[in-house]
């Protein structure tokens, strides 16, 4: 299932920050991870991912470093900054609160209930 563009705009950065919280990753790796780990829900092409990464970089939430990979090729690896960690924590809280609210409204079904 593909999600709406507006919702993606809010969820995308949080998802990328979360993936990077586990360690540095490069662009294609992030595309693959987003696709596989979200069953394609948050899958995004390069046209969406790279502007998103540059935005996070501009906000100093992540930083990119060009480095030679094992294959010998140059890759740009992204990792979370200290500010990015704080932002991720804040974002996680907001999403938790949002999900709880949606649950209370019945938009998101409680576990064990029929949707």
């Amino acid at each position: 299932m593909r999600i709406e563009k507006e919702l993606m705009r809010g969820a995308g950065p949080a998802a990328v920050l979360k993936l990077l919280s586990r360690g540095e990753m490069y662009g294609y790796e992030l595309v693959e991870a987003l696709s596989k780990r979200t069953d394609g829900v948050l899958a995004m092409g390069q046209s969406t991912l790279y502007p998103l990464l540059y935005n996070l970089e501009a906000k100093r939430l992540i930083e990119g470093i060009w480095r030679e990979a094992d294959s010998g090729r140059q890759r740009k690896y992204y990792r979370l900054t200290k500010k990015g960690k704080g932002e991720l924590a804040k974002s996680a809280k907001q999403w938790t609160s949002l999900v709880e609210t949606m649950k209370s409204l019945g938009v998101v079904p409680e576990p064990g209930t029929a949707g």
Binding site: Y26, G27, Y28, E29, V31, E32, M44, G45, Q46, S47, T48, Y50, P51, L52, L53, Y54, N55, E57, A58, K59, W66, S71, R73, Q74, R75, K76
Partner: protein
Amino acid sequence: MSAQALPPPTNPSDSLYHKLRYTPLRDLLRGRLTETLDLVRLRAETELPAPLAEIVVQTVRKTRLWRSERLDVANELIAHFRDGLASGATAEHLLSTFGNLDASAKLIRRAKKRRRSLLWRSGIKTMQILAGVFAIVVAIYLVLVAYLYSGSVKVKRNFASELNARVLAIPEEQRAWPLYRKAYLALGSWPTGVQGRERPGGPDWHQYVEFAKENGQSLRLYREAAGRPHLGALLFDPDDYTAELKRSDYAPPGTPLEPPDNPRLIGATFNELSFLRDGARLVAIDAMAAVDARDGSTVVQDVKTILQMAEHMAERGAVISALFSSLVVRRAQSVIAYALTTAPDSLTESEWQCVAHLLSRVFGGGPFPLPDASESRSISDVIQRVFTDDGQGDGHIAPSAASWMLDATHFGALERPASPYRSVQVLLPVVSAVHVRRQAFEKIYKDILNRGIQESRTPLWLITEYKVPIEVDAYRSGHWNQLRFGLGAWLFPTLARAGILQQWRTQQRDATLVAIALNLYRKKHGTYPSDLTELVPKFLPSVPPDRYDGKPIKYKLVSGKPLLYSVGADRKDDGGRLPEGSDHGKANRQAYEWWPANDVEVGLREKKIGDGDWILWPPVEE
């Protein structure tokens, strides 16, 4: 030379310029021409399938970022596609999952720009704000230009023609002007290099007498003209523009030989003022020579001529006419004073009575003339040329106002400087929007004129302060007022000073009449009266007022000679004492210099007015 011998064509990418253009600054500083910023070269070296390489180049180009930023993005996209291919994805799959190229380029550009330095972003923001402000200013200015050019000026009245119609209604034989013009042209050049004033007893007086004799023709014409009942001068008279007049330096350079159809009334020349001033000067010389020759009848005739000239000069009713005409009366008074002080018996009793009669009747016998509401004609003419006309009597400043405003600034300058004219024109849309509109302007002008006339005619002893000039000063001061009343700043009349001048001259005229009466009394009784009331009614209809306190003019005998005086500007009777000072003329001027009644103490302290009386008789040379 054969074609095979030609050198291979130069590849543009091999040129030094190309290398310099596409090498980052840091590499240049290290002395290396890396050309790493060349996207075409990058595409060639990327080893990606052509469609993928092309999408990289297209995306990066469309970002319109700086070269170093484009290179960074390109490298990352290349790395991305290489990773994709290495992981087993096909080029078609990678292309299909890339997304929209245009949207991607736009988002990348936006994100990358956010990473630029604060200084750069502030600079861009500042420029954007400035550009925005500039655009708003230009837009407002264009609206104001549209407002300026909306409506049109309608010159409905020909004031010059209307005034000339009145003159043309006067029979030709009653018009003095043609004769004055002839008299002026017949007058030779005044003696030059002479010493002293043109008064008998002066070192070169004989030269003036000779001059008067040599110009007998001119003198006769002046007398004949003065005898006519009306001045009868046409405005913009073609005869005034003759080459003969131009030769005499009367007509300023650039004056058209033929007047325009509907000329600006304010541009009309006051020819009679210079023509008659010179005439009065000539006649006065003749009169004083007649006093020396004890020729009483010529003296009377000349005094009459001068006074008639003064009345002719005042005929137009303008401020300047009034002031010049009263100066000519003073010339007649100086002849009378000369006769009274040097040869009182050179005129018979009846001749003195005649002189007194003539002097007392000049300007109808009242105070010296001041302009009336007809003064507003020339301003009405300006208004109809400077404001648009909406048909309802209202309108706004029109483009033609630029030249009027410049004329006001360079009044009298015939050649208008180009640069200020342009700057006035550029500002005119703003002035037009801010300046008071036609009806409001006319209302203010008429109010100021009427109150100014009324104020200037109020006797000095009743005036504590001139209010209208203070009001006019307020209209002329401050940037906002100068914009709102820019035109009014030079059109609003200030008549207070003219009023004061005319009242001084009226006072001097009155004193001369009293002096003649005293002379007649002395002739009859052999002595002077002890009080001026003794002159009334046989020698004087009434004792004239002192213009500074409203009481009768002051009189006393000093060493058997009469002394007439006014309390003067300090409003205090000092017994006929002049303010201190070796220069009697200056001291006398300080005695009558008008100051507001409430400020007399300040004026005395600052020595702007004299502590003493204004001596009216015997005459004090100024």
